[in-house]
Amino acid sequence: MSTPSGPAAMPENLLEISDLAVSYRSRSGVVRAVDGVDLTVRAGEIVAVVGESGSGKSTTAHAVIGLLPGTGRIDAGRIRFGGRDLAGLSERELRLVRGAQIGLVPQDPTVSLNPVQRIGDQVAEVLRVHGLADRRSAPLDAVDLLERAGLPDPAVRARQYPHELSGGMRQRVLIAVAIAAKPKLIIADEPTSALDVTVQRLILDHIQSLTEELGTAVLLVTHDLGVAADRAQRIVVMSRGRVVEAGPTRQVLDQPGHPYTRQLLRSAPSLAVARPAAPPRPAPGRIAADRPLVTVENLAKEFSLPQVAGAVRSVRAVDDVSFSINRGETFALVGESGSGKSTTARLVLRLAEPNAGRISFDGEEITRARGEALRRLRRRAQLIYQNPYASLDPRFSIGEVIAEPLRVFRVGDRASRQARAREFVDRVALPASVLDRRPAELSGGQRQRVAIARALALSPDLVVCDEPVSALDVSVQAQVLELLAELQASTGVAYLFISHDLAVVRQIAHRVAVMQAGRIVEIGTPSELFDRPNHAYTRELLAAIPGGQHA
């Protein structure tokens, strides 16, 4: 409790956080995660807290209900809610607030329900804990709540266990838990970031309409400025534990006052769709005699599922897929999880064996290549993974990581490989001092730069980028995409770019193929696809991009 500053609570302010400071204790000392945050939520309004990972947005939200993880502690500040300071309440007093007056919709629905308890019991528990229902009425009330949360067949679902429900359905269960006691405020902590885009929109729509109906206020925590733009009346932008900007949505988006907000706006991919940024560099003109670098014809891949009742079942992950990639071009495969886009990429690189179809690389058929032929392909086609940390051997120094492909193909001697590694570190805009460090000492963006350097070390003709930016923060995303485009311009490498994010694809791709359930449903240039989508599924994907409502 430092200074009880700030204006006296206006009557319509439901939640009023003033001068909040939260820190975590760790072995290496005390880390301030939230520092002097002021924030208000009025009754019935949706306020979005936007920021990147580590900005303290989630910590702020959790501090409100006293559920800081591990060693977290509130150092100073007040959290006024319903005429009381929540920061000063005991655990016992807080318990009466949680669930009853403030509900929580957590981040990842797939792990936020007790796996060994029935759905209905978990919803009923809120009512029982707060004495809002007795043993007999609670199960019935739970079914009603599940219905309100938009769960089909609520009476059946109530008797099921979480693992029997899809991610979207589980999030509806958690919404039912959150609204059960008719709280005045719901804290939604990245409620949809673990879900597919089309499901995301449905869930957000439902939260919005339900809270409007009940007059509940929502504190929406999100990393996606597009989501905030669509849903919130007011936006609070956080960075490094502080609020850098706050105001009505329109004002924040149209006249951003703080440079960080402007950067966030520029780099938010979903908003870039609404107002297209600079189009990607033009693809190099195809020389008439030049054949495509990669040609894929009628590719198919089946995976067998565990046997059930003796019957062998299989699923077609990739089904009759054909496309070609030209030299120096960026060809994107987009689709939701399970659409087969990653499998297709692995087939092209021969990291998985196709069941049918043909793949040729630079005129040579490689569908069944083995031994030396396969090694020749490896030398000319490289891969960048979604998770840069997992793709770097934790025991290797960065210098060794980048030099490894050179060592594998016996290019030069040790000294010249080290020189080459230094050169590439420089090309991906990292300081030379990282060469001796281990992957764990680097940030996510830096690691992905290292992975890019490794992929380009052998000057390949093709680099497959499997969701290369989806694990990164938005501002870092934009930088990495820029780097990829730059390197393409200077080396003439072709990219096979895998992404679930249409916005990202629009920024970088020359041609785009939309995949659904193992098939390509539509191929075209970004402008064709985004402005005149032919296939219903493409339109659905486009409609699901957050930020559209604002534009």
């Binding site: 975590y24 760790s26 880390v31 990291l351 051997d393 934790p394 025991r395 490894e404 193909f409 300081p431």
Partner: protein, 309 residues
């Protein structure tokens, strides 16, 4: 006994909040001196660990140079000094023949350490190889090997050791081999699961996709990364082997009587529990201290050192 899962508890396992606020900084330079300083700070915060390292150092010294600690002969009895309690003259007291217990414990370290090292070595080499082969080759080879391992795990380790002792005969080395063979299965298991984990890791596929050959992937990526948990298990196994070897020599299968093996010392003291408490108590405390120290070190290897490296 040697199967107990000494997955040591980490008392303060809060979730790491450390999503750092400033993700990009990598401070330049300063390796050598800073490493040493960090090591010292790491140790200073853990007095228990320092004590454990000290205990193990003493045991190792006693095993190789027992005369550093005592000049008495462990086998020589002085009838006049029978059943002396612990005191300035005889730190751990004397036994029924007037032999100095402290000298016997010090000289016993060599026997016990030798047996323990043989046991861990046998288990490590045999189990590690089985696990590596199973994990890396896979297919039916893996199936056959791991089924055998499963069966070995189904027989309580002490029973397996006893069967081996029955077949091989008595004596320190044979007991050690029996204890080692009985823990082959757990090593094979950990090694295999580690190899599988690492083999499926994205960075191994990344190495493969850069064109590296299988043996280079195995030696440069899989083995170094799979080794860590196996070494931790070896440390834990060291403590368990001390216990198992001393149990078997307590039961009378170890070194024949005059030899001052730790388990045998405790066993002899059993006959004089009522009038000479120190005979079993103090050698037993030595065993307990050794095992505790080893377990503490294993815990440090397992997790804590990651925070320092």
């Amino acid at each position: 006994m040697s199967q107990s899962l000494v997955g040591e508890l980490e008392p303060e396992t809060g979730p790491d909040p450390g999503r750092p606020l400033h993700p990009e900084p990598v401070e330049p330079g300063a390796v050598g001196g800073a490493e040493v300083r960090r090591l010292i700070r790491f140790l200073l915060r853990r007095p228990g660990l320092v004590l454990s390292l000290l205990v193990i150092a003493l045991v190792v010294l006693a095993a190789f140079w027992p005369t550093l600690f005592t000049s008495r002969d462990p086998l020589l009895g002085v009838p006049a000094d029978r059943f002396q309690g612990p005191g300035a003259q005889h730190w751990f007291g004397t036994d029924e023949l007037g032999r100095d217990i402290y000298a016997r414990v010090v000289h016993g370290a060599a026997l016990s350490l030798k047996a323990t090292l043989i046991a861990v070595g046998v288990a490590f080499v045999a189990g590690g190889t089985i696990g590596l082969v199973a994990g890396f080759i896979g297919g039916w080879v893996e199936n056959v090997l791991m089924r055998i391992v499963d069966v070995l795990l189904a027989i309580p380790a002490l029973f397996l050791s006893l069967a081996l002792v029955t077949a091989l005969g008595f004596g320190t080395v044979k007991v050690a081999v029996a204890v080692g063979l009985a823990s082959v299965a757990s090593f094979a298991r950990v090694m295999r699961s580690e190899v599988l984990r690492v083999r499926r890791a994205v960075y191994v596929e990344a190495a493969r996709s850069t064109g590296a050959r299988w043996y280079s992937v195995l030696l440069r990526h899989v083995l170094p990364n799979a080794m860590g948990p196996v070494l931790v298990l070896a440390t834990i196994e060291f403590g368990l082997a001390v216990l198992a070897v001393s149990s078997l020599s307590f039961l009378g299968y170890g070194a024949p009587p005059p030899a001052p093996e730790w388990g045998t010392l405790i066993s002899t003291g059993r006959n004089y529990l009522a009038n000479a408490w120190w005979l079993s108590t103090l050698p037993g405390l030595t065993v307990a201290a050794t095992v505790l120290a080893v377990n503490r070190i294993a815990r440090a290897l397992d997790g804590e050192s990651a925070t320092w490296r």
